[in-house]
Amino acid sequence: MKEGGLIVCDSSSIIALSEVCFLGVISKFAEAGARFYIPVGVRKEVVDTPITTKSFRLEAVRISGAIAKGNITVIDKPEMAAQVHEKSNLIMNLANNLLSARGKPIHLIDYGETEALALALVIGCPTILVDEKTTRLLIENPRGLHDSLENRLGVQIEVNERALSELSGMLSGLCAIRSCELVSVGYTRGYLDAFAPKGTVSGRNLLFGALFAVKENGCSISEAEIREYLEMLAPVQSGQRPENL
């Protein structure tokens, strides 16, 4: 796979970022050379469908603007569509036959999510921006899904080892990042400074607020991870009194 500033985005991350008015962070990264790609199905989820609703129309308009400005690119080339469609169906078929209960396969994932994975594989982009935890676990730890379902449903869940090995082989080259990683890297670059003039708000408050906002909009980051980010990127300086976060 090619190394580079390419990122394929799933709808979950775009939704979380737009809900907290952080599409500007994407635009800053795009200005710095990163390229954010989405498949057609993701555009449908983040623009075409919500623009018809009262509750999410403004967010859809904002995302549509980010696409129009070229900060997010929709990959809709017909010659690529067939490949993406084929790979997406293959991933969906494997994922939806990975686990079963009472002899019945559990439908884990839908086309929209596998389409983003398929696009990443077809264009050779190793990084996928995904807040949605099932897709992320399929990439990183499919057995974790088995444990989650078994514990929560209280039934025995069987693993299809053949599907697991094929799926893991297919997705092993992908690396998942979440909107909170984007926000954290953006923080280190000063991309969040637009929210408050320098010196008016402490870095810890700014980062905490930003990470908690994406968490509240569906990014699967735990409070423990938020605190880890704070210690890593905005530690309390010696002699400084820590804010009550």
């Binding site: 500033g5 390419l6 990122i7 979950s12 809900e19 710095a32 050379g33 990163a34 989820e45 469908t49 919500p50 609703t53 999410f56 967010e59 209960a101 009472r102 559990i106 439908h107 884990l108 994932i109 839908d110 929209g112 999510e113 190793p126 990084t127 949605e132 935890k133 099932t134 676990l137 990183e140 730890n141 974790g144 444990d147 989650s148 379902l149 449903l153 209280g154 039934v155 690396c175 998942a176 990042i177 979440r178 990683e181 984007l182 890297v185 280190t188 670059r189 968490k215 909009n217 569906g218 990014c219 699967s220 980051i221 735990s222 409070e223 423990a224 991870e225 880890e228 980010y229 890593m232």
Partner: protein, 181 residues
Amino acid sequence: MAGQFSNQSAIKDLLSAISENNTKWMKDLGNSAIKEAAITRDKATVSIAMICYSLSKVFNKDYYRKDRMRWDEFVIDLRNDLRRTIDDPAALEKVFSDIRRLDESVGRFVSQITDKAVSKKASTLYAYGISLGAASQLTGASEWAVLKEVGQTKMSDEQQSTPVALSSRFKSAQRVLEERR
């Protein structure tokens, strides 16, 4: 748990829970139904889960009963329509409209209790491990509403079954987002 579940017995239990005004039972029935639906993807089971959730809220709030005549009418219609669903799952839609009608006339919020039930049950499926898209598709919820619902829960704090360390994920992000100009 799930081995014993059937839509018909859930409806019969729901009718009993209504007679007893037992909102905890209604809630538990809704939880059992959504667990079953995670496996079977049966639309009627999903509807039952949402109806149980909605009714547990409606029966729990006094202001729905303020207009006594309206409330009594609602309970009679509800019972009749629920009984019909035992033989005809299509009648579940009628039960939804009974709840919507009551909510429209006396409810206090702009968004309806049935809409809340949809996103709530979709977020429960998501918590189990069903993807956002699959949960939304099965329940008819908007992905946006489900993510908002998920954000209000402790779900991300409870489930950290990924082997990837935060520092390594951050470094990956830094690498791919490296400035190129």
